[in-house]
């Protein structure tokens, strides 16, 4: 088990280093720091100002290692900074990126965690229901509704909900945020509703496939042959054994809860990491975008390694693959 754990963690570290290299190629080799400086300062500034800006942001070193500069170059700098979580200052407005991340994580999580749980607790029961009535009209209707729900762009869900529920019916505020826990629910209701609606079609279809695959197995047939009721088969045999594939799918989504939702936060005025990323995209702020991609991948890799290790713990076959 120890050997497996070390091997799995080593691979995870390699993947993170690979991501960092990819980001370096994208944000330093393809777009040179000069381009970034010009974008931040404007096209018509003198070279001396650009040089000064590059020094302030630590972009003034040669890109790749070479004779005489094996450690003093952008590539090594990029790795060192990212791995020690020293993200520096934003290209666009010079605020420390770490501060913005710590400020944005809270609002993001207050949106994504309830959204995630609610999607789970509506998607799985509905999919179980549809799978319970498989090969009947309820099943067919459920699948058609799921496909219909999947085919609507999330932009339309957002705009439609804001117009219908926010503007016409006045049930909830159209957008906004508050840290007061008594008011926050009113602000979060609409984005969470839209998030659940836009994801539920795909969720139902995916979970239904998992449940149907499980209900075609031999032990389910045996249980049925022994006279076990259909409701008991679904809840005890099929559902519990589907938990493994379901968990894999669900655990993968958890790391990205932290990075928030670009669309929902931006449209509904929630000052989280997603909204921050959208601002960075619109302001050509490469440093923030780079950092967010890195943090997202890091969380994802950590989540994957932990999942795999827990599998290895329960299932000896995984360890010897």
């Amino acid at each position: 088990m120890l050997a497996y754990a070390i091997r799995r963690m080593g691979y995870g570290i390699l993947v993170v280093l690979g991501v960092l290299f990819f980001l370096f190629v994208l944000f330093f080799a393809v777009t040179s720091p000069d381009d970034v400086a010009r974008k931040a300062l404007g096209e018509r500034v003198p070279d001396s100002v650009v040089e000064q800006w590059k020094i302030n942001h630590g972009y003034d070193k040669p890109l790749f290692p070479g004779p005489g500069r094996w450690t003093d170059n952008m590539l090594v700098d990029h790795y060192r900074r990212m791995l020690t979580f020293d993200f520096g200052r934003s290209d666009a407005d010079d605020t420390p990126i770490m501060d913005r991340i710590t400020r944005g994580a809270g609002p993001s999580l207050t949106l994504t965690v309830p959204l995630f749980l609610l999607s789970l607790f509506t998607g799985i029961p509905l999919a179980l229901l549809v799978a319970f009535f498989r090969e009947t009209y309820i099943d067919r209707l459920g699948v058609v509704i799921a496909v219909l729900a999947m085919s609507v762009s999330i932009l339309l869900y957002i705009i439609g909900a804001q117009y219908l529920i926010g503007k016409l019916l006045h049930w909830f505020p159209i957008s906004g945020f508050d840290t007061d826990p008594r008011v926050i629910a009113r602000f979060l209701a609409l984005p969470i509703l839209v998030g659940v609606l836009s994801g539920i079609g795909g969720d139902i279809r995916f979970y239904r496939t998992v449940f149907l695959e499980e209900s075609n197995t031999d032990y389910v047939r045996t249980a049925r042959a022994k006279g076990c009721g259909e409701a008991r088969i679904m809840s005890v045999h099929v559902f519990r054994n589907s938990l493994i594939p379901l968990l894999t799918q669900v655990v993968v989504a958890i790391p990205f809860l932290f990075t928030g939702s670009l669309l929902l936060e931006s449209f509904f005025g929630i000052p989280g990491l997603g909204a921050m990323t959208v601002d960075a995209i619109q302001g050509n702020d490469f440093s923030v975008l780079r950092t967010m991609v890195y943090i997202g991948s890091l969380l994802f890799v950590v989540g994957q390694v932990l999942t795999d290790l827990s599998y290895g713990l329960v299932d000896p076959r995984v360890r010897f693959e």
């Binding site: 993947v15 990819f22 944000f27 999947m150 085919s151 932009l155 705009i159």
Partner: protein, 340 residues
């Protein structure tokens, strides 16, 4: 070469390719049976998708000249497609409601009263015409991206699965690296770095999209290479390349088709999100939705713009999703066994 000439040749190439595909499908029992089944199950969806393809093709065939009398001097030298010639050219100054005779705000008389069946937008363009133009953009995004992503995924997936060893290690590492980055952010980063253009958007979508299919192709190849007929071919001295071309690739074709259709709707929906961020493709439905999103807060509201773009987008995605669903049932042997 000018862009309209390229686009005309693409239409010719597409026509020849679909003829070749029809001939190939008719020759093989499995494939023609599958398409008969698909036709029986999804007649309406295929019909709707066919309309979209037809509009896109009509919008791709373009030529210079033949402008009507009231065209200005510039448009005489511009290439215009069939759709441009049929529906373009009735420009207004600002918003007008469907079938209206006067402008929506201010009630100034229109230049072409009653001719705008879906009204006009902020700068007076005919919304029906814009919605038709979006079909070509959507199919271009889906088609070009798939054309880039699927061969790439097949190449890497099959060689990783078939040869294993060091190739597999490298391909698997690249896949895990790309898959661990948040998809939408990676997409945005790529487009921002490459600069905003239709081709850049497609390349970025392909870079983020090929991993999923590569994983499927690799897994399936791993299974296929252990089968008896592959061992038999190897024992008979058939070369590795021949085995891959004869015995592996044809057995992946059904996955290629299923993936293409399932990927297509995701790509078009992603483009809508990119449009909202201001880095989408010009003339797409996503861009129309983005431009129209403040119109619902006007008073009285302007509803026709966003509805036209939204319904056009929804119709295409829905048809493609229904076709993809049925294709999976018809072509995937695993689901076939499940039904029997």
């Amino acid at each position: 070469m000018e862009s309209h000439v390229v686009s005309n040749w693409v239409v010719v190439a597409l026509g020849l390719a679909s003829l070749a595909a029809i001939v190939l499908v008719r020759r093989s029992r499995i494939w023609s049976d599958a398409f008969v089944q698909l036709w029986r199950r999804r007649r309406l969806a295929l019909f709707v998708a066919g309309i979209y393809v037809g509009i896109a093709l009509l919008d791709s065939v373009a030529w210079v000249g033949g402008a009507d009398g009231n065209a200005d001097a510039v448009s005489v030298h511009e290439s215009r497609s069939v759709i441009d010639r049929l529906f373009g050219g009735n420009q207004e100054r600002s918003y007008s409601a469907p079938f209206a005779d006067v402008e929506f705000y201010g009630a100034q008389p229109l230049a072409h009263p009653g001719s705008h069946i879906l009204g006009t937008d902020l700068i007076g363009r005919d919304v029906f015409y814009l919605a038709l133009k979006g079909a070509r953009v959507a199919l271009l995004i889906g088609g070009l991206t798939s054309l880039l992503a699927i061969p790439l995924a097949l190449l890497f997936g099959v060689s990783a699965g078939y040869f294993g060893g060091r190739i597999d290690t490298v391909v698997f590492f690249v896949m895990s690296t790309l898959a661990s980055m948040p998809g939408l952010l990676l997409l945005i980063a790529l487009i921002m770095v490459m600069g905003k253009s239709t081709f850049a958007v497609c390349v970025a979508l392909a870079v983020t999209g090929w991993v999923g299919f590569c994983r499927i192709a690799r897994g399936e190849t791993l299974k296929l290479r252990e089968l008896e007929y592959v061992s038999a071919a190897r024992a008979l001295g058939v070369s590795e390349l021949q085995i891959v071309m004869r015995h592996i690739l044809p057995n992946l074709m059904h996955l290629v088709i299923i993936t293409f259709v399932l990927m297509f709707s995701g790509l078009v929906l992603s483009e809508a999100i990119l449009s909202w961020l201001g880095i989408g493709v010009d003339g797409s439905w996503g861009q129309m939705i983005d431009q129209a999103r403040n119109e619902l807060s006007r008073d009285p509201i302007v509803w026709w713009n966003i509805s036209a773009a939204g319904i056009a987008l929804f119709g295409l995605i829905l048809a493609v999703n229904f076709i993809g669903d049925a294709l999976r049932d018809v072509l995937d042997p695993r689901t076939l066994q499940g039904n029997e």
